[in-house]
């Protein structure tokens, strides 16, 4: 095993979600003052990579496309035990949809080649499209498996992957190179030990711009995205909005009446 690439996405801290707002004019998310954290499932991806590294040795490289201000998030991921990080940051990348994003990531991964394995979280908390893993793999021409709930790799044995997919679990035998995206059940991510936190301080976070990737304007950003945001809609269904007040017992009686009217009780 030579190299494992782990895709990391800094996302707004879910504990601060109630402070998120959408700018009605630009239709973008107002993220100011909201701290970034590692997308939770990316920790499962990193843990999976580190378990292979612990077992048979490998260089674990983090890859993120995010503003330079999210460096501390990468530092935290380095402190879990990754060897180095690459941060893809360029205003040309802004506005990329999943296909354009996947092009940028895949091109960066080609620059990092050769590699054996790419690990991703199954979805991110903010976008939740879950499209990037399959698209990166397609653009690289390697197989991929989503919804990975368990992984077993004991060289010289094969890589066994458990996929949680309708209607149950499927056990797959896979070969490298390969891209896997992990679910929460896959493992329990390790804590950053204090020694690793110290060691991570000297690990490299390289910033790559499009000057290095050399992707044409028609492939990235808004211009390279086949999908466009056409509109924002305020969704409101007319609801009764009836307020029940009184003592807990009175409220309980009124609510039980309403439930009875539905014919459920």
């Amino acid at each position: 095993m030579e190299k494992i690439i782990v895709c990391i996405k800094p996302v707004p801290d879910p504990l601060a979600w109630d402070r998120l707002a959408m700018d009605p004019v630009t239709k973008t998310l107002i993220r100011e003052g909201i701290p970034s954290v590692i997308n939770p499932l990316d920790k499962q991806a990193l843990e999976a990579a580190l378990e292979i590294k612990d077992a048979c040795g490998a260089e674990v490289v983090l890859l993120a496309m995010a503003p330079v201000s999210t460096r501390p998030v990468l530092r935290q991921a380095l402190a879990m035990g990754a060897d180095r990080a690459v941060l893809l940051s360029d205003h040309w990348f802004a506005g990329s949809d999943t296909l354009a994003t996947s092009r940028i990531l895949a091109t960066a991964i080609e620059r990092l080649a050769p590699f054996d394995l790419i690990c991703c979280g199954n979805f991110t908390l903010d976008g939740s499209t879950a499209q990037v893993p399959s698209q990166v793999a397609e653009l690289l021409g390697i197989p991929n498996i989503m919804h990975v709930s368990a992984m077993e790799f004991r060289p010289p044995g094969p890589l066994l992957v458990t996929q949680k997919i309708e209607p149950g679990l499927v056990i797959l035998e896979a070969e490298f190179p390969l891209l896997l995206s992990f679910t929460k059940e896959a493992n329990k991510p390790r804590y950053s030990s204090f020694l690793e936190i110290l060691a991570a301080e000297t690990r490299e976070i390289a910033v790559w711009t499009n000057a290095y990737l050399q992707l044409g304007a028609g492939l990235i950003g808004l211009g390279g995205s086949p999908t466009q945001m056409a509109d924002l809609l305020i969704r409101r269904k007319v609801r009764q909005g009836l307020r029940l007040e009184g003592s807990p017992e009175e409220i309980a009686r009124l609510l039980a009446d309403k439930i009875s009217q539905l014919g459920i009780v």
Binding site: P72, A79, F194
Partner: protein
């Protein structure tokens, strides 16, 4: 002046917080019920680096300073003050050995402490009192090549969870007549006595050590013969007071969080009680105390890391923070109303734990003696 924590300190906090919330939380109920420290936490705490945080790298520690230790103790105490208390005393033993031990003693004792194979224990207090250190009655006398130790230590944190104890005993008269020893729990004549049942910090083990003609090899002395007072004062003042202050700081943080959450959730007269000024002022007071104490605690720890003299500052941090924790825990209970005294709610534990921090690790009053001396000195007439 820079009041911002470094990236390293932020990462240490994050890691300690994740660990405490996920790994310590499930142990709290059992520790509260039995009063026993959850020994199975030691290995994972060692893996993270909590047990060896201030032990030097050459003895398998992490080699971090007091600022880092304060942040980590604070985060643990935010979840469970008892575990934080046990660790802060564990660190005191490491600090004493590192400051005063011989190379052989450091090699023997520091690695197992850093690796979390056993817990550190510093035994000063006796039935006659702890702050009146010179009134100590335990004695050690040299017979040939063997020290014979007699006496009884009480209210000793980690007494029953430690394999070896740092014990202070009288080897002569006056302030220069105290000496520190490392005592193996299997030494002939050494045994543990009763386990105390405290109303707060229940999960930190506290008990008695009894020495009945206990035989110790000559090389058991830590520091100089007659240098025990120095060992005790430096250890209590530096790692003890900053450690106790950090435990209380974590309690304060929790007082604030529990109060703010409850005030926003609890509805009276159709609105969350946080809309009532009586409640919002109480939360504001807790929040302010928390910030003051954090500044005091961090400054004292920072001074230690800068190799500055900081006995006054550590005494201020300890005595003020522990008092503030108890006062704020009382306020937090009042904010909770009747819920506050229910066992399901955390605030009652915060008050019980905070009360114990006041007398532990050098009472608040002794701290004030230190502070008073420093405060008055510049205006004292030279005799």
């Amino acid at each position: 002046m820079d009041f911002k924590l470094s990236e390293r300190e932020e990462l240490l906090r994050k890691s300690a917080r994740e660990f405490a919330e996920s790994e310590i939380t499930p142990k709290i109920d059992a520790m509260e019920a039995t009063g026993d420290f959850a020994l199975d936490l030691l290995k994972p705490m060692a893996k993270l680096g909590i047990t060896g945080i201030i032990a030097p790298r050459e003895y398998e520690g992490v080699g971090l300073g007091y600022m880092a230790r304060t942040i980590v103790l604070e985060e643990m105490a935010r979840v469970c003050a008892a575990v934080s208390m046990a660790m802060q005393v564990h660190h005191m033993a490491i600090a004493a050995l590192n400051d005063f031990g011989t190379e052989a003693q450091k090699k023997k004792y520091l690695p197992p402490l850093a690796r979390g194979e056993t817990m550190g224990c510093v035994a000063i207090t006796e039935p006659s009192g702890g702050s009146d250190i010179l009134g100590m009655q335990s004695t050690a006398a040299l017979k040939g090549d063997t020290w014979i130790l007699n006496g009884r230590k009480c209210f000793i944190t980690n007494s029953h969870t430690s394999d070896f104890w740092l014990v202070l005993a009288r080897t002569g008269e006056g302030p220069k007549g105290l000496t520190a020893f490392m005592v193996d729990k299997n030494a002939p004549g050494a045994k543990t006595g009763r386990v105390e049942h405290k109303f707060g910090l229940r999960g930190s083990n506290t008990g008695e050590l009894v020495f009945d003609n206990c035989e110790l090899p000559r090389e058991s002395i830590v520091g100089q013969e007659g240098g025990g007072l120095g060992v005790a004062l430096k250890t209590v003042s530096e790692s003890g007071r900053t450690g106790m202050a950090a435990v209380a700081l974590g309690i304060l943080q929790s007082c604030y969080e529990e109060s703010a959450k409850f005030a926003n959730e609890r509805v009276l007269y159709g609105k969350p009680i946080s809309f009532l000024q009586a409640i919002s002022f109480a939360v504001a007071e807790i929040y302010t105390e928390l910030d003051m104490c954090r500044l005091l605690c961090y400054r004292a720890s920072w001074m230690k890391d800068q190799n500055m003299r900081f006995d006054t500052e550590s005494a201020m941090a300890k005595s003020y923070t522990c008092d503030a924790a108890a006062n704020c825990a009382k306020k937090a209970i009042e904010i909770h109303g009747a819920y506050g005294i229910m066992q399901e709610y955390k605030v009652q534990r915060l008050l019980r734990d905070a009360m114990v921090t006041i007398s532990a690790g050098g009472t608040g009053q002794i701290g004030k003696v230190v502070i008073g001396r420093a405060a008055l000195a510049p205006f004292q007439k030279k005799g």
